[in-house]
Every structure is written in C-alpha cells, then in structure tokens.
Amino acid sequence: MKLETVIQGRTGSIAIVPLPQGRGSAMPVVGSFRYEREDGRLAEGEFSIEALDSGAWSVLIGGRAYRVEPGAPGELMVNGAPLAVELFDPRASRQRHSSAAGHGRLNIAAPMPGKVVRVLVSQGDAVEEGQGLVVVEAMKMQNEMKSPKTGRVVEVRAKPDSAVGAGEVLMVVE
C-alpha cells in the first residue's frame, strides 16, 4: 500500500508492507514502511502499531515509542506535539478542490459558530480595506469582521441576533 501524505504542509508518500505475522487485516499490525518527504528526506524501518481503546495509537518504530492521539481538527498529537496530517490514497477517486474565489468577489464568512450582534454596512455601500462589516459574538467575545479589500458590499446575508455556523457566509464584498 502506498499513500500520499501532506504533513505540516509538506507533501510526501508512505509505502507500507506487512510482515508475514501482520498479514490478514487491512492494515498490518506489524510491517515495514518507507516514508519519503518532498525535501528528499527519508525514514524507513519496521513498525508495530496498536489501536488503543482510548482512541489513541501506540506506534513502535525500531523500538522507539510514539504515542499518537487525535488532536484539533486536521491534527494529530505525536508525543504531545501537534502535527497537521492528511493522507490520500492515490488510487481512490480524489475530489479536486477548485478555489472559486473568482473575479474579486470575496465571501466574508463567520470564523466560528456564534451570533450576529451588529451589521455595520448595507448592500451597495462602498467600503475600505479594514473597515468593520459585521460583529459576531461567541463565548462572550465579540469579533468584528473587517473588509479584506476596498470595494462595494454586493450582498448582506447576516441578520442581527441570528445564529451562524462556522464558515457561514455573512456578506459578499466585490
């Protein structure tokens, strides 16, 4: 099995081969691996992996112990250090993420779930870069969303006192 990796923003790949006693399950319990990173650096050796009931994994590589635990979204904790980790199976159909920013239209999205406290501009308003657009409150903290550019407000979706989810588009600036 060979998988593509993106770890801490760097691409690479890991090839995993089961040892005879590790065969029979989808992922070998013991095997050997070869991890190559885009900068040409390489780690390889024999490993043993154990999924623990706590949700963590114990990984032994050449007798050295690594405790891998779930972390913040998109991250794992390895021996207490956070690592941003993504894996892809190159044979599985991979969804291409197109960045549809398009023609200077910028979505102003809520950075966290919360409540709209105030809407500071109206549709059609001219705005300057850094000008406050909308105030969102969560966990007793108010966050003023500022315009990322000088332009015009083309759409206002946020309504005062309404609840919003993380990533929800509050307005569009052109």
Partner: protein
Amino acid sequence: MFAKVLVSNRGEIAVRLIRALRELGIASVAVYSDADRASLAVGLADEAAYLGPSPSSESYLRIDKILEAARRHGAEAIHPGYGFLSENAEFAEACAASGIVFIGPPPEAIRKMGSKISARRVAIAAGAAVVPGTEEPIESLGQAKKIALSLGYPVLLKASAGGGGKGMRRVDREEDLDSALREASSEALRAFRNGEIYIEKLVIEPRHIEIQVLGDRHGNLIHLGERECSIQRRHQKVVEECPSPAMLRYPELRAQMGEAAVRIARHAGYCNAGTMEFLVDANRNFYFLEMNTRLQVEHPVTELVTGLDLVEWQLRIAAGERLTLSQEDVKWSGWAIECRIYAEDPGNRFLPSPGKITHLGEPSGPGLRLDSGVYPGFTVPLDYDPLLAKLAAWGPSRERAIARLDRALAEYSIAGIRANTALFREILADAEFREGRLSTAFLEGLFARREPRESNLEMEAAAALATAASMPRRPAPAREARSEWLAAGREEMLR
C-alpha cells in the same frame, strides 16, 4: 458548618466547589442551563436544579431563579464561584434577605471594592499607590479627550464593574478614542449590566502580580502571598505561578505587597477570600489596580504552595468560624505553575472553538493538579467563557515545576475542538520565560520571536501510520484486497 450548599456556577469551578463540599461532608446542589444538562458538575453533585435557557442572562445571571432553587432544595448557603454573580452586591443582599448565606464578602465590601473607581479611593485612603487615572466614570468624549491628553497616550479604558478583560481597550491615539469608548462601554454593559468606563495611564510592560488575602468575620486578616499572572492574552491571564519570579531576587517585595493588600482589605471592611491586583514596574514600584472580591481562577497555585484549601476556608469563614492561622503560620514551599486550558485557537487570534470533544487524554501522575469541567463526548457550549480546565504542576523549584508541567502537557490531548495546550509547551520552552523575565507584553513578544517548529521525520511517519490505520478502506472482495497486498509485497521485493 452548613449541611447543604448550592453552587451557582458551571464548568470547572462548579466541579472544584462540589468536590470541596463532598470532602467536607456537605451536600451539594448544582444548577444548570439547557446547555449544561449533561455537564460534569451536574453528574457529580448530590442534587441539581434547572435554571433556564442557555444564555447566561436567562440562567446563571438570574438571581430570582437561583434563590428559588436554593429554597426548593433547602440549601443554607450559596457559593457563587467566579464570573456570573460572584461580584454582584445585589445578589449578596438578595441572599441575605432570603436567609441564605452568600459565601463571600459582605455586600458593602463588594460595593466598595467591586467598582474599580471606588476601590481606587479605598486604596488611596489606605495609603497604597495607584496607577494615575480618573476616579469618576467618563461622561463625555470631550472629558475623555482632556483626561487622556493630561495622562499622556497610551491610555487604558476600563469597565468600572469589569474583570476578565471585558470592556477594556488600549488607546494609542486620540482619533481612536471615540470608537474605543463606545465599544468598551457596550461590551461592559452586556457583560456586567453597567456601562461605566474610566481611564488609566497605561504602564508599559508591567508585571501583573496579585496578593491573596483571607479574613474572617472577627477582624482577623492575613495574606497568602502572591501570584504572578503576567502572561495574558486580551487582558486575560493564561499562565499563573506562585511564587513570582520577581520575589526570587527581591524577597522583601512579598511582605511589602502583602502588607499593602491587608491594609486595603481592612479599610474596605473585607472578609472571606479576596485578591488585590497590582502592576509592578521595572523598578519594583507596585500600583494597586483592582480587587477581585471572590475566589480567583488561579487559586490552585496558592493552594499547592501554601498547603491551604481556600475553598474550605471560604466555607468555614462564611459559617462564622475564626481564622485559626496567623500570618506567621503561612509558609510557602516550592513552586507551582498553572495554565488555563481554553477552547480556542492560538493560531487564529485566540478565536473561541466551541464544539464536541471527540477524544480527551488527560495527564496524571506526581505533582499535578487538573481541575477540569469536561469529559470525552461533552459539547463545549458557545454561550459561555471558553475555559475547559486548569492544569497546575508543583515542584520543589521553578525549574522542576516547569519540567513537570511540560511533561503533563505532552500527555494532554483534546480532539474535536481546538485548545491552547501546544502554546503552553512553547511558553514553557521559551528562554525569557525560563529566566523569569515576564511582563504583560510577554505573549506578543513570544509570537514575534517564535520560529516554525521543525518536526522529526519518524514522528511524521508514526502519524502517517496511525492515519493509515484509521482510514476507511474501500469495500472490496477479500481476494482483491489480498492481491493488493501481494502486489505491494512483490513491488517491495523488486526494489
């Protein structure tokens, strides 16, 4: 002593208080809003009372509902914890009027010391130095401009009824004064139902050191030493320690500040536990800043170093008992450091990160204290402060306390939401921190000088192996899956 006490708070402090009550053989009553029905506190208490919908204005800030719950459950006293109604004199009065003991200072002392403006007057009357600034709430922009000009920029706007950095704004230029005043006032109004703002001169890069005081109802008043709380973000503390590294070089500072704090408390007619906050400049001048007329979030570091239980003393004092220790009996042993574990993203302006905790690995072992209010599967509500837990470590020296805390943080994993545990490991590893060179500008400095962490290849491989082990595999006939493995094996042999 009381037979039953209601805890009018939530989260980790409610858990802390319920544990103390259990240890003292006192029955506990938890309260909860819709968001907290499944909270740890409700599960640990002997009894629990529903207050109302999630917004704190409809639950934890409702004096009528809390008193009604206390009456219904037959609680003799209420512990308010911190935040919410803990520094609300009307609440303390309403408790007394209902024949329920408020575990805290008398309402008059809350009034005197709860307002920063009146606390300044008390401190001045007690002969303590204060930061230059106004003593009256600001009434107009014109007045604010005049005062700011005479103090000299930068100035600090502060909420008269404030705490926790709410309603506080730094202003560097006159043209920013108008909007900062409006923001600070509306934030203060929402947080404390009091929009009064006053202005202070901003002391540049000060240390924030506070003194714990403890007094009974019979006039005995002592201090339990200091806590250094210089490391803050948005004027809210994130790391606290006792002793202060400043005391290492200048041991006389503790006695000087302690005496000043006791003097102010005496002037205010204060009893029960309270904290005097001071700014200490580079020349070790200390200025009284404000008083917190309640238990502090960071009280565990004082408890670890003095061996005293502050909550137990709060209960005993509220029940009318005498302080059985004198100033000479208070001894400080070793070093304790606490970090506040918040549901927030230090990588993105410390924005709060509410949501469900999908995995929780908690540290344990020698010299640690974890005061947590969460468990795996708990949903951190977006309605309240993002404090999840406090992790404190004790060691015989500062160096050992740091090593122990770092070890514990490496054992701490929180998934599903973002938390600030990794930032603490960076703070503990920082040379300035290790040398005890602290100021309230510490975090800004750290962010400016930190370098991207170089990760270890084998750690990355371990992370990739664990991820591969948990990847959903495409459903495929067993034979095909097997041949895949054989193919991989052959490929490997050919290399």
